[in-house]
């Protein structure tokens, strides 16, 4: 049942995100993140973190967005399962670009680019 709620939160979060309903999306993904940590499902945990990052990023809250995109990378490291990492590096770099920190953006884009050919 918790797993079901998790999946449903992720789904509504995605729909809110798609409709640019960013604060509602944030709330859903936040709940999903807690549920995912509760049931110890790292794949869904990453999806929630990525959704949080995307919601904040589209609101222009780049520093907070970086926090959640970085969480995706941390979960990958913790689990040794790297799905979503390429996208996370790219998103973090996008945020630094918006913040005008092109040096740091370039470093994250380099990680992103070096992963584009892998799967």
């Amino acid at each position: 049942p918790k797993k079901e709620e998790l999946l449903s939160r992720l789904k509504t979060g995605k729909n809110f995100l798609r409709n640019q309903d960013l604060e509602k999306a944030f709330t859903e993904f936040k709940a999903a993140l807690e549920l995912a940590q509760n049931v110890k499902d790292p794949i869904e945990e990453k999806k929630a973190a990525r959704g949080l990052g995307a919601s904040l990023q589209r609101q222009g809250k780049y520093r907070e967005a970086i926090k959640y995109h970085s969480m995706v990378l941390q979960i990958s490291e913790r689990e040794g399962e790297y799905s979503g990492s390429t996208e996370a590096y790219g998103a973090i770099a996008d945020c630094y670009t918006e913040l005008g920190d092109l040096e740091r953006a370039a470093r994250f884009y380099d990680k992103y680019i070096s992963r584009l050919e892998s799967d």
Binding site: T86, A93, D94, T97, A105, A106, Y112, I113, L116
Partner: protein, 88 residues
């Protein structure tokens, strides 16, 4: 570093196409698809985009240690800006 914003715009350009085509595909497939299938088409869409972008992205990030490389990198940037209409 001048090319960094172009990387961001090119990523966004490709992502819009990816999402639009993926949505079309999923709506053709209906709601009764398995998680495995859903994951496979998502990976397909990302795989094609990432592999196609790899060359251009790499050529926006030459380190510019000699001037020829820097010039070429900027030419690549200008060409990409033109070809994908990224300069808006």
């Amino acid at each position: 570093l001048e090319t960094v914003p172009t990387i961001k715009k090119l990523r966004a350009y490709a992502e819009r196409i990816r999402v639009a085509e993926l949505d079309k595909c999923l709506s053709k497939m209906g709601d009764d698809i398995s998680k495995k299938t859903r994951r496979a088409v998502d990976d397909l869409s990302r795989g094609i985009v990432n592999k196609l972008l790899h060359g251009p992205m790499q050529h926006l990030r030459c380190d510019g240690s000699d001037s020829r490389t820097l010039d070429e990198t900027l030419e690549n940037m200008h060409a990409l800006n033109r070809m994908f209409g990224l300069e808006t």
